[in-house]
Subunit: 437 residues, 2 copies
Amino acid sequence: MKELKVGLLGVGTVGGGTYAVLTRNQTEIARRIAGNIRIVQVADRNLALAEQVTGGQVALTEDAFAVVNNPEIDVVVELIGGYTVAKELVLTAIANGKHVVTANKALLAVHGNEIFKAAADKGVIVAFEAAVAGGIPIIKALREGLSANKIEWVAGIINGTTNFILTEMRDKGLAFVDVLKEAQRLGYAEADPTFDVEGIDAAHKLTLMASIAFGMPVQFEQAYTEGITKLTTKDIQYAEELGYRVKLLGISKKTSEGVELRVHPTLIPEKRLVANVDGAMNAVVVKGDAVGPTLYYGAGAGAEPTASAVVADLVDIARLQGTKPEQRVAYLGYQLDQQQTLPILPIAEVHSAYYLRLRATDKPGVMAAITKILADMQISIDAMLQKEPAEGESEADIVILTHTTQEKTMDAAIKHIELLPAIAGQVTKIRMETLSR
Amino acid sequence: MKELKVGLLGVGTVGGGTYAVLTRNQTEIARRIAGNIRIVQVADRNLALAEQVTGGQVALTEDAFAVVNNPEIDVVVELIGGYTVAKELVLTAIANGKHVVTANKALLAVHGNEIFKAAADKGVIVAFEAAVAGGIPIIKALREGLSANKIEWVAGIINGTTNFILTEMRDKGLAFVDVLKEAQRLGYAEADPTFDVEGIDAAHKLTLMASIAFGMPVQFEQAYTEGITKLTTKDIQYAEELGYRVKLLGISKKTSEGVELRVHPTLIPEKRLVANVDGAMNAVVVKGDAVGPTLYYGAGAGAEPTASAVVADLVDIARLQGTKPEQRVAYLGYQLDQQQTLPILPIAEVHSAYYLRLRATDKPGVMAAITKILADMQISIDAMLQKEPAEGESEADIVILTHTTQEKTMDAAIKHIELLPAIAGQVTKIRMETLSR
């Protein structure tokens, strides 16, 4: 096997981790592949940082295009992020016949179809294990480990920042805004946390997993995305009393009507393993028709966990040098010409169970009125929790867990309930998943 | 890609599942690899069963050697089990230049070095995802997904029968023998359950994982194996009171003195995900130096979960047809000529924390005597539970959790404690693992 020559774009957190892991574990890696992986050029706008990370052992440049155009390089590792320059760099590397490894979920979720097409035309590999759930080898599990299965659904905690925030909200009873500030102070959340807390980052990752699971092109723009900014500790506590945990889940299911592709806060029975994944950790549950439910757990972010995935992709590429494209795993699990553009269900069409919280005046007939509305819409009640009004208040919280119904039916029922004179303000609605079948 | 022609040896549970999954999901599989996998011949001593499983769609034979010697066949799937005929069949298939897929952990744990050597000489693949933890793609995770890491340890619930029994003992407070009978009635345990309940099956699987993790030949005969037959519900309950669950774990750690390779009942903090893996399910925790701890969970046995792994191996082989051996993943993760025969630590040399249960006469000075013995041996106490004597009894249970010490030190301390006049009978010792670092 000839040496695999790597060009590294970006020496931030993951880039630095990649350099460190490749250097520290080069002996083990060489014993595994009977070959060598060597970083021959590094690009970063911060040359001082690049110098510090590499210890002056490697050629440095401020110009990432110098790397993707360097004829000596076999594979480009793109760790810059974003949609614009990163896209141009990746497409240029591909045009130059180089393999690409990237951790850039945003890029692939939005421009994946174009990028994979370009790579197929040039016969090069685009590997992206690090783009989903950090160090957890979930892309490999979905593309290869479960290749015997019809995948029925995928559901995962795939954003560490929000899982950290939800865990803290539950453990310490703190409000979202306060935990967010703490998370920002600790470096678990960005200064602008929108991508994380609004579920966009999770939707990027879910988009990639869903494409692999169901053999369809990426369709990020069709994903339903709802973040955790409106979640209250009250709802987390009520859920707990009823035996549930609240997690930001990315869920994709194949149904006879279409594919569900949705990210939102979700109640999960506390007995499920995935309900007990706390802090910044990630976990993905995959249900296959043959294997049943399987779960993959680990660090979803951080320098070395993400580098673990980047380097594993490099090891695969090193081994696969000289193979024909059909001897490699398809980019998104299915051969590109075998993908089917399945319709993504609008959220109104999705079936789910629900957690509802209402504030109602404590007088006779309220409960009868609410349950009549639900019954009229064929929505069954699974559990109910009626709280006493707080000292000096006349309104009390009522929590209702429903059986499965269609979202638009639930929304119509909620509209009716909100019109009841005894109901104060809006009804809080959170979706529920049992993840059992 | 040319069609991959498969010969199937054995149509029992897993063989039947393999036929069913390959048939049912042939469209998805063909879309993934742009090729076809076809079972062209099936061998089973029970021709009527083979006829029933295959619906008369495939050539049948009672003679497994007819399959391994069939020049039309590319890959032999060995699902017969055992060490003798299975070994001859696998070696003959290899000698005939055929790839092999097997679920036979016993065969590979005991004869793996010989079999992989023979396969390397002929340049054929021997794939065995189904041999460890059924449908969980743990072999792929260890060999490929975590290839960037120095693996530090592996710990898993890798025998569904014993995990089912332990879960029932805990949930229902029933004794081992009673649950075993129930498990046999339900088909979760064999008529002769020795391989499962004595930890031998788990040790086979652990042997394979340890070889991959640490780059060493299989050394099953060096594994320490202790089953669950002597576990009492009392110990399970006391562990619970102290915040622990008891699981039969296969544990392999690389230390500076050597490799630990051991299967035994183990106390695990209840907060760990793996402590909450119940029933017949399996889970493996792998700690890598870059990725940190990762966990893989799913069905460890059963027709279709195991078939999921068998067929995934076939998909890999179909794709890899025409590749050179160096373009494939090494059998045991590391290239055969790069394996190192690391010493396996005898159990007396292993460091562990311990759960001890003693029965002591309830009189002054007993506790002082016990704690003095431990202190003299430099064994620190982490927690203690002293029970009141039952009505009408003069002896009471004392439970002690220790910090880490060497097994031989612990055993010497136990010998001293058992000599105390106030101590009745033997001290019960169960190892503990935090699985945190």
